[in-house]
C-alpha cells in the first residue's frame, strides 16, 4: 500500500500525451462486480411492461373520472363580490385552517417555511440514519424528555386553542408511550414498539396535515364557522 506511486506520474494534463499503460489496482479497490444472491430480471420486458400497464391504468382511471365528474366552474371572477367563505385550493386549506388560530405571518409564512426546511434536512440529520425502535434500550430519561417535548407541543397549540392539532398530538403521544416496553407484548404493541422517533414525528405531521386539510375542506362554512360537509357544496 505504501508503495503506490504519486498520481502525477501517471496522470497528465497534456491531451496529446500517449497514455501509459499502468496498473495501480489496490487489492481492496478492485472494480470487481459485487456478488449478490438477489435475483435480477431483464428490465425489458419485466419493468417496461409494468410501467406501460401502470400508465394505461392511470389514463383509464382519469378518463373515467373525467366522464363521471365535471370540473367546477362558477360565475365569472368578480373582485367586488367576495364569496363567504373564500377558500384556497384544497392542498392549501390546511394552512388556511391554521390561519383561523394563528396570526397570518405564523400560519402563512413561518409554519410552511418550517415544514419545507424540516423536509429538506431529513436525510442530513443523523437521527434519521441511525434511529432504532424508540424505546429499545431506553432509560427513564428518554421517556421524561419525550413527555416534556410532547407536553410542550400540546401546551403551545393549546394556548392558541388549536384543537385540531392538540387532539391528534395527544392521541399520537399516547400511542407512542403505550409502545414503551411493548417488545414482548401482543402483536399490535410489538409492531408499534418497532416505530422509530423520526417515524413517530412523520406520522404526527401527516395526521395533523390531513386533519387540518379535511376540516378546512369539508367542515368550514361562512365566516370559517364549523359546518357539516353535507350542509354545503364543496368544489375542487
Amino acid at each position: 500500500m505504501s508503495s503506490l506511486p504519486p498520481l502525477d506520474l501517471v496522470e497528465t494534463a497534456d491531451p496529446l500525451a500517449t497514455p501509459r499503460r499502468v496498473a495501480l489496482v489496490r487489492p481492496d479497490r478492485r472494480p470487481a462486480v459485487r456478488t449478490t444472491d438477489e435475483k435480477y430480471v431483464m428490465t425489458f420486458p419485466n419493468l417496461i411492461v409494468r410501467e406501460v400497464i401502470l400508465f394505461q391504468v392511470v389514463v383509464i382511471g382519469l378518463a373515467l373520472a373525467a366522464i363521471l365528474f365535471d370540473a367546477p366552474l362558477e360565475g365569472i371572477a368578480n373582485p367586488l363580490e367576495t364569496p363567504n367563505p373564500a377558500k384556497a385550493p384544497w392542498y392549501f386549506l390546511g394552512l388556511q385552517e391554521l390561519l383561523h388560530y394563528f396570526p397570518p405571518v405564523v400560519a402563512g409564512v413561518l409554519m410552511p417555511l418550517l415544514v419545507v426546511l424540516a423536509l429538506v434536512v431529513i436525510p442530513y440529520a443523523r437521527v434519521n440514519q441511525t434511529a432504532g425502535p424508540l424505546w429499545a434500550g431506553a432509560g427513564p430519561r428518554r421517556a421524561l424528555a419525550l413527555a416534556a417535548a410532547t407536553g410542550a407541543v400540546i401546551a403551545l397549540f393549546g394556548l392558541f386553542k388549536c384543537w385540531p392539532i392538540v387532539v391528534p398530538t395527544a392521541a399520537i403521544s399516547l400511542a407512542m408511550f403505550s409502545a414503551r416496553g411493548g417488545e414482548s407484548a401482543g402483536p399490535l404493541r410489538r409492531s408499534i414498539a418497532k416505530v422509530t422517533l423520526p417515524e413517530w414525528i412523520m406520522v404526527w405531521f401527516a395526521v395533523v396535515a390531513t386533519i387540518l386539510t379535511v376540516i378546512g375542506t369539508f367542515f368550514r362554512g361562512p365566516g370559517w364557522s364549523f359546518v357539516w360537509p353535507w350542509a354545503h357544496a364543496v368544489a375542487f
Partner: protein, 254 residues
C-alpha cells in the same frame, strides 16, 4: 407457399432497412437484444438493463412515483390541447371555459381530465414522499435526491396553484386571492414578492397573464429538468429502494 401470418409480417417488417435504421436492434427475443432495447433508447436508458426482481413488487414502491409521472404526462398532453382554445385575458379566459363546455368537441372532457390529473398528481407526489420516508429510501447515497424531490413537490403545488387561476371564475379568483394574501404577510419580501407575482396589488388581468406564463412555460420546463435529474439519480443510486432489510435494521439497533 408461404403462410402469411401476422407474426411473419412483423418479422419481415423488423428486418427492413428502414426499420433497422430507426430501431437498431432485432426482436427482443434474446437477452442481448432486451439489453439493447433499454440502452439504445434515449428515454428507456434511465433504466438499468437488469433490475432486482424484488423492486417489481407492488409493496416495494406502490408505484406512487410512477403514478405522479403518468399524471405529468397526461397533464402535458391535455394541457397543450387546452392551450389551443385558451386566451389568457379578461374576460375571454372565462368565455373560453364556456366554449370548451359547449362548443369544442370533447372540450369539457379535456378540462375535466386536466383538473383530475392535477389533483391526483399533488396527492400521488405527497404519498410518494411518505413512502420514501417510511422505507428510509432517503439514506446515503440518496440524500440529495430527496431534496430534489421536496423541490419537485413544491413545483407540483405551484403548477397546480398557477393553473387554478386560469379559468377566471369566482373559485379561481378568490382561491388565488386568499393564497397570495398569505404571501403578503412575509416580512420584508412579502409585499414585493406578491406584487411581482401578480403584476399589481390585486389579482387582475396582469396576474392572469403571469400565472399563464408560469403555468405553461416556466414551471413545466423547471419540472421537466428536475424530474429528469430525479429519475436519472434513482438509477445512479442503484435503482428504487424499498423497505429496509430486516438484517440491516437489527444492525442499526445495536
Amino acid at each position: 407457399m408461404t403462410t402469411l401470418s401476422l407474426d411473419s409480417v412483423f418479422r419481415r417488417l423488423r428486418e427492413t432497412d428502414a426499420y433497422r435504421s430507426i430501431v437498431r436492434h432485432g426482436a427482443a427475443s434474446t437477452n442481448r437484444n432486451r439489453s439493447l432495447v433499454v440502452f439504445e433508447n434515449l428515454f428507456l436508458h434511465v433504466h438499468p438493463v437488469k433490475v432486482r426482481e424484488k423492486t417489481l413488487r407492488f409493496t416495494h414502491t406502490y408505484w406512487l412515483g410512477g403514478i405522479a409521472l403518468a399524471c405529468a404526462l397526461v397533464l402535458t398532453a391535455t394541457g397543450v390541447l387546452l392551450m389551443f382554445y385558451y386566451h389568457p385575458s379578461v374576460p375571454q379566459a372565462y368565455r373560453d371555459m364556456k366554449e370548451l363546455e359547449f362548443v369544442v368537441d370533447n372540450g369539457l372532457f379535456l378540462r375535466n381530465m386536466h383538473r383530475w390529473a392535477a389533483h391526483l398528481m399533488v396527492f400521488a407526489t405527497f404519498l410518494h414522499m411518505m413512502r420514501v420516508f417510511f422505507h428510509r429510501a432517503y439514506r446515503p447515497p440518496r440524500q440529495f435526491n430527496w431534496v430534489i424531490g421536496v423541490v419537485l413537490l413544491l413545483a407540483t403545488l405551484l403548477l397546480s396553484y398557477t393553473g387554478y387561476l386560469l379559468p377566471w371564475d369566482q373559485l379561481a379568483f378568490w382561491g388565488v386571492s386568499v393564497g397570495t394574501n398569505m404571501a403578503k404577510e412575509a416580512p420584508l419580501v412579502g409585499e414585493k414578492s406578491r406584487f411581482l407575482l401578480l403584476g399589481g396589488n390585486i389579482v387582475s388581468e396582469n396576474a392572469l397573464l403571469r400565472f399563464y406564463v408560469l403555468h405553461c412555460v416556466v414551471l413545466p420546463v423547471a419540472l421537466l429538468l428536475l424530474l429528469s435529474v430525479h429519475i436519472w439519480r434513482v438509477r445512479k443510486d442503484g435503482g428504487v429502494q424499498g423497505p429496509p432489510e430486516e438484517s440491516s435494521r437489527r444492525e442499526e439497533v445495536r
